[in-house]
Subunit: 110 residues, 2 copies
DNA sequence: GGTATATTTTACCAACTGGTTAAATAAGAG
DNA sequence: CTCTTATTTAACCAGTTGGTAAAATATACC
């Protein structure tokens, strides 16, 4: 199974977050680690499909894998999320400003 | 040119951010609006390629297009970035905690 | 060794992506 | 109307993605 490796970590992070299944997996891992079968349970896709999603998350550094008997538990690694957050934060001013404009427009309407 | 439309706005946003060219375009738009040719200038790709990137950003709601004579100026729309930021923020505790663990480990090493 | 459970790998497929070139469209200027 | 400039569309291509089914691998248990 070929998984493309961008030499650009933040692109990998955003690409990994661009899929609802993968975001749900991260949400499931927030309270603590889980096995692949546990992670797959809520989805109506096959186990290999989930395994691929985990590989994408792993490549992005968003999860780490353990080894316990025949289980390969996953746990969240939030480091890349920090980088993504810092990238987005640079635009905070913009969405706050555009809210202000909408707000004062709504004021005018009264 | 077929541009896939996910019924999932935040997936579109993250997918749009997953490309370095598109992130650079957004950065260029932060100080103010720009024409397509101006946006294309720093890249060694053709104009239609940039036009496609702008379409992806438009679909994600990250830019709006104007009309001035034969120019179609782009300006940043940061709304979707706010949603992306809010999604990521839920994990802030996780990257701060993992920093704390690294920090106390480094303390121990001394 | 043989069996059961958990997970990954392989091979395959249709759809999407990111790029190209060439042609089409839009608007201003002479 | 013609020419120039700005931009998009169309057709195409190679590579990636997200899924599948079937086979392979890993570990525990008897």
């Amino acid at each position: 199974m070929v998984i493309a490796t961008t030499p650009d970590p933040i692109s990998n992070t955003f690409a990994a977050l661009a899929d609802p299944t993968r975001r749900a997996i991260l949400a499931r891992l927030a309270p603590g680690e889980a096995s692949v079968t546990e992670l797959a349970e809520p989805f109506k896709m096959t186990l290999p499909a989930v395994s691929k999603h985990l590989k994408v998350l792993g490549r992005a550094g968003l999860i780490a894998r353990g080894r316990e008997a025949q289980w390969r538990p996953c746990r969240l690694q939030a480091g890349p999320l920090k980088d993504a957050d810092e990238w987005i934060e640079r635009y905070r001013r913009h969405w706050e400003e555009s809210f202000d404009r909408l707000d004062s427009y709504l004021q005018e309407l009264r």
